[in-house]
């Protein structure tokens, strides 16, 4: 029986690549999205992957959404918390709403989504949770106290839940991508982007597929001894 995998923010960018890669490797995949119906419909048509719309920053919506996925596809055994947003501003210009939106969507969502699947993972004696962190959560970034706090919070979340999940067969890991060629990065002004690429030892932006193959590695049945770990996939951009 193919395992059921759920990818949040899974209809485009890194999440879209993760969902497709899981789908291509025989997993039953559900992709969750929040806003862009058109992109989601296009993604569904092109890939055949089931798409679901809800706000992962909202606990009640997560409860209802996961229940729907479970009734359609079966219990979620693999959860990839990928959904994320940015609301960049330097601290003295950052509105409280910009802080809250990023914390809710990027970090609160990890609690919301994991909490809604943890019971069935425990009952099943198997679970794979992969949280998509960020190089900027590891290294910090100008104009992103909200994003860096949320993403490094994810790395802490990962280590704590990994300790709890170890006994019932649930691994919890983080992947920390560097700059990947997606819509989010393409929104960066060209001269800034050139500087970024120049500071990446591998000499290029990451591809969404670079991240997807790392997720695939972590969710495999025989990756059961890897837990609480953070894999950096950043072209050597930040090493520590």
């Amino acid at each position: 029986m193919a395992r059921v995998a759920l990818v949040s923010g899974g209809t485009r960018g890194i999440g879209g690549a993760i969902a497709q890669s899981l789908h291509g490797n025989g997993y039953k995949v559900a992709a969750v999205y929040a806003r862009d119906d058109e992109a989601a419909e296009g993604f569904h048509k092109e890939t055949g992957i089931a798409v679901y719309k809800w706000d992962v920053g909202d606990f009640v919506q997560c409860q209802a959404g996961i229940a729907q996925v479970v009734s359609d596809l079966g219990p979620v055994e693999i959860l990839v918390n990928n959904a994320g947003i940015t609301r960049d501003a330097t601290l003295h210009r950052m509105a409280h709403e910009q802080w809250q939106a990023v914390l809710d969507t990027n970090l609160g969502s990890c609690f919301n989504m994991c909490r809604c699947v943890i019971d069935t993972m425990r009952d099943g004696g198997f679970g794979r949770i992969v949280n998509i962190g960020s190089i900027n959560g590891q290294a910090g970034q100008y104009g992103q106290v909200n994003y860096a706090a949320a993403k490094s919070g994810i790395h802490g979340f990962t280590k704590a839940l990994a300790q709890e999940g170890a006994k019932p067969g649930i691994t919890v890991n983080a992947v920390a991508p560097g700059y990947v060629d997606t819509d989010m990065v393409r929104a960066v002004p060209e001269p800034v982007l050139e500087k970024i690429v120049a500071s990446i030892p591998v000499g290029r932006l990451g591809r969404a597929s670079d991240i997807a193959r790392t997720v695939l590695f972590l969710v495999a049945d025989d990756a059961d001894f890897i837990t609480g770990s953070t894999i950096s996939v950043n072209g050597g951009h930040h090493m520590y």
Binding site: Q141, V145, S152, A160
Partner: protein
């Protein structure tokens, strides 16, 4: 003129140790607290320090509180984000309220407080922000997914704001204490306490003064080149 330092959650435990250390080193110190009036009154009487009551998890309360401090004592030069709370539970038993309370008091507070003092620091071209993180934020801990996520998030916040503050003469650092002998530890069963002590190569709990000492080091005039750093003060319990 002595610099003005504000310590949140500063009337007991580690915060009180920090406030005392700063006072003894000649800083003007004001202390924020939220819950226990009796403890705050006796701390104020004993230390001679001014205490202010507000909830650091509440953005508007921080704005009003800092305004009050500014009126009475002038702009804050040194901010120690120490206030914290726990709401421990195994993840499968953790409810949304426990998650939100800990994120709000331990992590949102860092945004709320830093944002209120940052403008004055920019204007003065000098500032010191020290965030009190935790060894558990670095290493993860069972029953503390909320606390670990918040504390790890604080470490990310530190690195992002350090990048922004650099050109304004503002340093932002984290102190990550291990298990310190405070009123909280005295509530812990002896069996567990012994296990904790055994994990430290130094074989004892830390003291409140030892954390105060680390903070003193970071807020010093001469510490201007130390920013974005995490100083672990944990008796060697977790090294990485």
């Amino acid at each position: 003129m002595s610099r003005l330092a504000l310590v949140t959650g500063g009337t007991r435990g580690i915060g009180a140790g920090i406030a005392r250390a700063l006072k003894d080193a000649g800083y003007n110190v004001v202390v924020n607290y939220h819950s226990d009036d009796a403890v705050a009154d006796s701390f104020a009487a004993e230390s001679g320090l001014a205490v202010f009551k507000w909830d650091v998890g509440d953005f508007d309360a921080c704005r009003a509180g800092i305004e009050e401090v500014r009126t009475a004592h002038g702009p804050v030069d040194i901010l120690i984000n120490n206030a914290g709370t726990v709401a421990d539970a195994r993840f499968e038993n953790m409810d949304e309220a426990q998650w939100h309370r800990v994120i709000r008091v331990n992590l949102d507070s860092v945004f709320n407080m830093s944002q209120q003092v940052y403008g004055d620091m920019m204007a003065a071209k000098w500032g010191r922000i020290v965030n009190i993180g935790s060894m558990n934020g670095q290493a993860g801990q069972m029953n503390q997914v909320n606390y670990v996520a918040a504390k790890a998030g604080m470490h990310g916040f530190t690195k992002a704001l350090a990048q922004e503050g650099a050109k304004h003469g503002i340093t932002v650092n984290t102190v990550a204490p291990g298990y310190v002998d405070t009123y909280l530890m005295r509530e812990m069963p002896e069996r567990i306490l012994n296990k904790i002590v055994d994990k430290s190569p130094i074989h004892r709990l830390g003291t409140e003064d030892e954390v105060g000492h680390a903070v003193l080091y970071l807020v010093d005039e001469k510490a201007a080149w130390t920013t974005g750093a995490t100083l672990t003060v944990n008796g060697g319990t977790h090294m990485y």
